[in-house]
């Protein structure tokens, strides 16, 4: 019974806790969405691909959490944690790999599914190593393609399948031994505490930390009204957008598309373009997320959060907050626009794709803004992110519906998608601006 309790606790931690819940929900929603949208003849292949994607996401998430949980548990010397973790890993493999394999075999996917899911699981476990392997594999595949070898036949033939299965089994087996090893290492990891130097402050580090904000000292000391930049500096957030980083990002994006195009694989243009656009969109969302974290985590967080019950009463402050969230975002948008313009000018991507992606970027921006504003529209300081998770799910469903419907000229879908995007954002903005009316400030009296 105790063992079951431990296993349940670990499984909750590995798969469901935190953003993991959102990821699982998003994957399920995405699968359901595809199931409805896709034509019947393509469903099995698409479902197999989607299941593989889900497996990779869930296992990769679980693998990183195994590492984090074991490191913390090892430092505390929690009894029976490593053995319970191993059982939980087996359950994760069973549910996220063996079950899909059985499901795929039942659907008539054949032995290939076993190879794909086993390989996918092993790659998800060793994601960082897998990225390096992917680059090596891509070069090897390029060489083999040039010699006329059928890659798929090679991979899914008996020798290729055997190699993949043996390597995957070895990798999964090694992963199952990780908790014991990691907990022993984690307990010894804080050896630095034996070194008295850990209690001394490095003078250079202090200087370096202060230099980032030193440029804004004049503005901070200026007694004029509150500016967006002053607000973020007050929260110890570095407000400057980084043009250099954005320019480098754009350069590498162009480099990637040029290399792939001239690698006699011009059909990758679309994929690279969409990937780069998705990365830009993710950075835009990440910017909002960083700001929200800065708001939560800064040393003065307590006082700011206490004040948060009162400040929205001032419209001017709300406007400053809204203005402040644009820091860094124009650079990202300009970077993406320039990248799109170059690719469009060369003729590797058509107008429709660019327009569709631009709508996707705007949709991502609106959703990110809405999610950010919704954080400040609560009646009190939010302690859980359930509302934001729900918002994220709705926004993703909205973006997917809008883009798919636009691509197929499906008007009702376009309306539904746009509504899913705009309605929550409108509600969040309304709540944000009407907050003192909706939720009158309550004076907390300490007993």
């Amino acid at each position: 019974m105790d063992a079951l309790r431990c296993d349940a606790a670990i499984l909750r931690g590995l798969v469901l806790a935190g953003p993991g819940t959102a990821i699982v929900l998003i994957l399920i929603a995405f699968l359901a969405f595809l199931f409805v949208v896709l034509p019947e003849e393509g469903r099995v292949d698409a479902l197999q691909f989607c299941m593989l994607f889900s497996v990779v996401c869930v296992v990769a998430r679980a693998a990183s959490r195994v590492r984090m949980h074991c490191e913390s548990a090892g430092r505390l010397g929690i009894p029976r944690h490593a053995s319970a973790m191993r059982r939980a890993q087996c359950i994760v493999i069973g549910v996220s790999t063996i079950l899909p394999i059985a499901f795929a075999l039942w659907f008539g996917a054949g032995f290939r599914a076993v190879v794909i899911f086993a390989g996918g699981t092993a790659l998800a476990i060793y994601l960082a190593e897998a990225l390096v392997m992917a680059i090596i594999a891509a070069i090897a595949l390029k060489g083999l393609t040039a010699t006329g070898v059928d890659i798929w036949a090679l991979l899914f033939g008996i020798p290729g399948s055997t190699v993949i299965l043996v390597a995957s089994a070895w990798g999964i087996g090694r992963w199952l031994q990780l908790p014991q090893r990691l907990e022993a290492q984690a307990a010894a990891a804080s050896l630095t505490f034996a070194d008295p130097a850990h209690e001394a402050i490095d003078a250079e580090e202090v200087d370096a930390a202060n230099m980032a904000l030193e440029n804004y000292l004049g503005e901070v000391l200026n007694p004029r009204a509150l500016t967006p930049r002053k607000l973020w500096i007050g929260l110890s957030y570095e407000p400057r957008g980084n043009w250099r980083v954005n320019a480098m990002g754009m350069f590498f994006a162009l480099l990637a598309i040029v290399i792939c195009h001239f690698w006699k694989l011009a059909h990758w243009d679309f994929g690279i373009y969409m990937s780069v656009s998705a990365i830009f969109a993710a950075y835009i969302y990440g910017r909002f997320n960083q700001m929200q974290e800065a708001w939560l985590r800064t040393p003065g967080e307590q006082s700011v959060l206490v004040l948060a019950a009162r400040w929205p009463a001032r419209t001017a402050f709300k406007v400053v907050l809204l203005r402040s969230i644009w820091t860094g975002i124009p650079q990202l948008l300009v970077g993406w626009l320039m990248f799109s313009a170059v690719v469009l000018a060369i003729g590797w991507i058509d107008w429709n794709t660019v327009m569709l992606t631009a709508i996707g970027q705007v949709a991502a921006l609106v959703s990110a803004l809405g999610i950010f504003v919704s954080y400040f529209a609560y009646s009190r300081v939010p302690r859980t992110n359930l509302l934001q998770m729900a918002y994220l799910l709705t926004a993703l469903a909205g973006i997917a519906t809008l883009l798919t419907s636009l691509a197929h000229g499906f008007v009702p879908g376009t309306v539904v998608g746009a509504s899913l995007l705009l309605a929550p954002a409108a509600v969040a903005f309304l709540a944000f601006f009407l907050r003192p009316v909706l939720f009158p400030v309550q004076i907390a009296v300490r007993k």
């Binding site: 935190g18 090892g74 929690i78 307990a187 804080s190 034996a194 209690e199």
Partner: protein, 294 residues
């Protein structure tokens, strides 16, 4: 012998080195059941290493370390679940909320008391709904103490548990520790730099210096010790053996700071050669312990 009847914590001639630096050097320490031992020592003197070795979290190079008679390096889970540990770093399971972390950790301890955890967390004003990484260091430390206490341990090991706590929280934690210690004969070993706090709740004090336990006595014994300054010609001082002094330090040329029992000052004085005078120094327990740590 049932482990329950054995000495809770026992270390004999334990040594541990890091990259050639000997942090623990043939250190010995016995902690009896129901005692509260405060471990003091200068920064980097090896307090954390000692606690980790005693808990079996760090393998020792040589010597014997036992918890309830079981080898610390290979503690059975039945013994390990009777130990509560508050490490120096409180940022563990940082991605979880306080409540999730307590639920997670609690599932591994059969005696874990959720209601007690909730009650202590409320009294310590720890937010359990916030993710641990978003908590301030003081809040993280409070949560770490809640976690360790809620496992209802028989041995509680605390590594500088109150360094980030405000005075009110420190008093609360001390009261809680004392209550637990009295009601359940909880054995506590705590490392700290705050001597006044240790004075309030420790039954014993141990000072770690140069990798060894320089002194390990009941708290009452420290009340009978005083610092004494011996002054005189350096050549005479250098040839004098302060046999009755527990500690002798060359504080300046022509000066020795001694720690002696209050009632043996006269005896020390009688044995001194001519030309050396003794003067009792003012100071509290902190000054006394600081002298030992130098």
């Amino acid at each position: 012998m049932q482990p329950h009847d054995a000495t809770p914590i026992s270390a004999r001639n334990v040594s541990k080195s890091f990259q050639g630096r000997r942090v623990l050097d043939e250190l010995s320490l016995q902690v009896e059941r129901g005692s509260v031992v405060g471990v003091l020592g200068a920064n980097g003197s090896g307090k954390t290493t000692l606690l980790k070795v005693l808990l079996g979290l760090l393998p020792r190079d040589s010597g014997i370390a036992e918890i309830y008679g079981a080898n610390a390096d290979d503690l059975p889970p039945e013994v390990r679940e009777r130990i509560g540990y508050v490490p120096q770093s409180s940022q563990l399971f940082a991605w979880l909320t306080g409540r999730s972390m307590l639920r997670y950790v609690g599932s591994f301890y059969p005696n874990y008391d959720h209601e007690y955890a909730q009650s202590v967390a409320e009294r310590l004003q720890v937010s359990l709904k916030t993710s641990i990484e978003a908590l301030s260091p003081g809040q993280q430390q409070r949560l770490s103490i809640v976690r360790a206490l809620a496992t209802r341990p028989e041995i509680l090991v605390l590594d500088e548990p109150m360094s980030a706590l405000d005075p009110a929280a420190r008093l609360f934690v001390i009261d809680e520790l004392l209550r637990e210690q009295r009601s359940r004969e909880l054995t506590i070993i705590v490392s700290s730099h705050i001597v006044h706090d240790l004075q309030r709740y420790c039954t014993h004090l141990a000072v770690v210096k140069n990798g060894r336990v320089a002194i390990h006595e009941r708290m009452e014994s420290f009340a009978g010790l005083v610092r004494v300054l011996a002054t005189g010609e350096e050549s005479i001082l250098a040839s004098t053996e302060f046999a009755k002094a527990g500690h002798v330090r060359i504080s300046n040329p022509g000066e020795r700071t001694l720690i002696v029992a209050r009632d043996s000052i006269a005896a020390v004085e009688r044995e001194l050669p001519d030309g050396i005078t003794l003067r009792q120094l003012e100071g509290d327990l902190e000054a006394l312990v600081s002298e030992w740590m130098r």
